[in-house]
Amino acid sequence: MACVLFSRPNDDITLSYLFYYSKELVSESNNLGYKTINKEGKEANKEIIISVIKKQNPELIMFNGHGSPTEICGDNEEVIISVEENPEILKDSIVYSLSCSSAFKLGPKSIENGAISFIGYDFEFALGKDSESEASPRHDKIAKLFLEPSNILFSSLLNKRSVKDSVAKAKKKMEDNINYLHTTDRFPEAIYYAPFLFSNYLGLVVHGDKEASIN
């Protein structure tokens, strides 16, 4: 059975939202019978993540974290993967990076170095927040609109859909959510979030094999 790796730091408020939302993906991976390796909080550091990748050769990897066009970070913004140092570490994996801009340069570089597919964002990832939810991701109806598509994407990969189909599903959900922001009267500030979600929509890209899926 395939091996799935999650890197889920949780050391600031933004990452706490990604951390909360990706929890259900870890459960789903377990329930589907994959060998699921979940490195969260302080364990989402360079030493541990690199060691796991080298020993376990995960077919599918999800990175939460801060990032840049050339890097993916883990706990305490430690750089885990970078264009300069170790793009080859992603060899033979399908990667989904929920990190700002990492698809722009690290994406193509990782494919050059043997990664099967790299799904990520060409630009900064935007996350809206409901001011009334008091940093509680569970109750945040706006954050849900931004993070739900990401979960749909990875869930689709876990269910053996192709990279192309999984990204298409995520983009469709983003479109639906943008339309919702355009039309809902449930909260008056909805329309102001739409451009940011649209930026995520434009920024979500794939490098490498779009037909790839895990076994």
Partner: protein, 60 residues
């Protein structure tokens, strides 16, 4: 297609809430899609300025 017609086409497809939002700033004055519509529809000088600026910005 004339700029005016382009504007009306885009305007017709806007979400209703977006129409109340600023689409251009002329002489430090913020102008919403709705106000732009009226100015353009009535062939005003401001309407002409709005169209030119929207074209320059790539919004038309």
């Amino acid at each position: 297609m004339e700029l005016k017609e382009e504007f009306f086409k885009v305007y017709a497809n806007l979400p209703i809430e977006e129409r109340n939002n600023v689409v251009v700033v002329i002489d430090k004055q913020p102008i919403s899609w709705n106000i732009a519509y009226l100015e353009i529809k009535n062939y005003t000088k401001l309407g002409q300025q709005i169209l030119k600026t929207l074209k320059d910005l790539g919004i038309l």
